[in-house]
Amino acid sequence: MRTMWDEEFEVVIIGSGFAGLAAAIEARKYCDKVVVFEKMPVPGGNSSICGGIFSAAGTPLQAENGIEDSPALMLADMLASGQRFNYPELARMVAERSTETLLWTIEELDVKYQPSLSWVGGHSVPRSYNTWNASGSGIVKPMLAKCRELNIPVRLKSCLANFVDDGNNAIEGVEIREEYIFPKSESGTPKRIRATRAVVLASGGFSQDKEFRAIQNPRLTEDIESTNHQGATAESLISAIRAGATPVQLSNIQLGPWASRDEEGFGVGSLFSMLAGFPYGIIIDVSTGNRFVNEQSDRKLLVDSMLNLGTESIAIVDQKGVAYATTLDQCLKRGVVRKFDSIEELAASNHVPLMPLVNTIKSYNSSIEKGEDRFGKWIHKGLEPIQYPPYYSIRLLPKIHHCMGGIRINTLAQVIGIDTRRPIGRFYAAGEITGGIHGASRLGGNAVPECILFGRIAGANAAREPLRSGHPLSQE
């Protein structure tokens, strides 16, 4: 007879991004044998390439800068941009525990943040921290170091192929393909790994899964670029659904309006637009030279208006506004952002009709003076007219960025079964693989707190499941 299980751990975690690593670190507090499986040859998934923006309400930096904020306000922002698709109970947790989560990264992981706050679209106030290196790796690396310290193996090139249940509505383990070579589905050797306490699925979104995302939203054809790492594909989501998990809101797929036409993926331009171009500059329809939207809208509104426009658009910012950019040097070096001494030059180079552009800037500047903008951009005291050369422009191209949909969890990060509508036993999920926290549109910098918070919850709860007994490793 064959051996049922090849290996056994207490908590088995799939995915080595924010959610998976946070789960591992937290789980280790309550039990000894924790493992993380990662299908890619490198750890970190989207988390390590992300912009490192961390939004939180009621933070020390806000206090320092006299910014009044509250979890209630953050929640209201989330629900508004989410068009009320958000599960309020989950969204509320993100808002209420965002600062606690931020402080955890500082205190437990020693993550370093930049000393100023960013104001990201859709948020009512500046509430976004930035990691010291403007990248999620500023958090992932300390997490990986922590895992080493805690003796948590992070096994790379190990792909989840299937869940294994115990015949009693609970997950008992997983089937992993070891020495897996992405994206070859048949590569590697299958191994059965038992989880004597629970399994945590933290395998991220599916923005790079061309087939799967087009099924959810036919407009997302394969030629549309994505900001995500290559491994952001849907097979683990499909396995989870197979295992009875409830898929929710899968068609809520976010495009990033701030990405650049002149580089691949997220690059360095996205952060430029997000932190400087949109909040302190304007977005222009290249064909008319006109503004068409509040640049500080949430991503969905921005992308929808850009797509409805059907023409190209650029963001413009001047010398004052560019001060808020964290990636300017790289942008200029890579030709993603271009610098001009005058609006005339900027217009000519971007093929924007000059006079309308000049008028647009004039009327924008006067609305700053008046304190009222016809597109509803909130005019605050940090906002200055666009008039100080040099001027900078970036050519925009919406790219597929985030999957708000995924599998349904409850406040304990338990996976909810499709038919029973109750938690599936010993099955947890956290991070972008889960659905419904952000609704129709995720606000910038909200993924990091969400992934870490629910990762920690999942890890802690998984590790506190009662131990399954028996030694089924060697079976006749």
Binding site: M4, D166, I171, G173, G470
Partner: protein, 522 residues
Amino acid sequence: MKGNDQDEVKAGNAGGNVGRRSFLKGALAVGAVATGGFALNMAVPGLAEAAKRPLPKKWDETIDVVVIGSGFAGWSAAAQAAIGGAKAVVIEKMPTYGGNSIINGGVYASYDDKFHYRQKMGLGDDSPELHMQDTLKGGDFFSIPALAKVLAEGATDGLNWMIDDGGAVIRPTVVRAGGHSAYRTHAAGIGKVYVDALKRIAEKNGAQIRLNTAVTWIWRADADPKSPVLGVEVKSGRKISNIKVGKGLILASGGFSRDVKMRGDHYPFLSGENWNCTNHPGATGEMIRFAQSVGADTLQMNYIQLYPYADPETGILDTPALIPFNGPGNGIVYVTKQGKRFISELARRDHVSFAQIGLGPQGKPTYTIFGDDMVEKMGFTKGEIEAGLKKGRLVVGNTIAEVAQKAGLPQDALVETIDKHNKYLAEGKDPEFNKPITKAMLPMTKGPFYAVAQWPAIHHTMGGLRINEHAQVIDIFGEVIPKLYAAGEVTGGVHGTNRLGSNAIPDCVVFGRVAGRNAAKG
């Protein structure tokens, strides 16, 4: 052997599951040995009920084509299956047939009809292509284009079939409704006209119906792509029996607007009991969940439509509640309690609904104002208007001021609004809301005029089972589930984020027919 027996039993079960799962074609199919011999309903872990329910030992009967649901989709499917030579039985859980279909407003979008009313009335051009484009656009391009195409191309044939073979009588007009860019919406007064026509065709060809019979499970041996659906478990009164499906199982069980829990699962905003709903009480989603449990994929379950013009009190979509929907192309005007317009009357349902919700609870209700000369052009009879007046759903006045006064609207404001709107019609331009003005829109200059109150109620679930152009249900790996078909509101991906009004009947009829035809082939 180490360890206690119990654990080994568990491990054995788990192993069985791995084996069976692993021969599924998935993104990551593994070559592990399949351990057959378990006739479980579903080869997945996690599904307690599925895993615990062995296939029935014996079948109580076998039926060629079992159709679940007796609405447009179900009867169309049954009719077509029967015509195709199959024994077809419609299973309906409610004590009456017709579901949402029989209480439906009877408006049917089709680029043409056998009488060519649009052409006769000089109401411009239309084509299946344009109908499809409107459908895609109206759903923010979330519709699967191949499915929208089937709908648009089959609509006219479906309509004429019901007229010719089923004796349906449609009214001699076509209207232009919100989100449609052509005059293509046909009226029959009430959906029952079509349901009865379809029922007639179906029964004439030998199809039967069983009322008070609920489907309580779908049987399938496992989720292997080659594994067909085997049958259904049905419950009638206290009796539970199992029907084996000979040729095909067609799910035509409608939407889940009345399923409060499921609504909350997918669109938390619309959860809870406080929303009004236009649907019949049986519009619950268990069939979708059963289908998911045997491997079916779903699409876009979170798109749930509000009907902007339901009776504000009850949420019922009665005849008066249809006027605001049918009338935009004839010049009706929507106003707030303050007597002001708030949106283009030709806007899509979701836009109108959210514009209303945006007014806040104190903005409830809004009103539609229309003139007597529009009534028949909108597809209504004088009798229907009289009945509406009697019920108190409509108010009438010889002048706009009188209507305002009776409806409790500020008179001056309403008079001003209508005057302005009349002017826009004359000038061919609506500077306020950019409504495209057409010649068929009549100014309100001569009374009597009417007002009807309106407010959003939950109406339609755009999401549902994923199907292909042949109405076959697709599993979550993208494979067809043998012998399983679906049509009508139970399916997803035809209407995207927002269904255009009058697109549901053609959707149901066209895909119902496709499903029936294909199922009969076996």
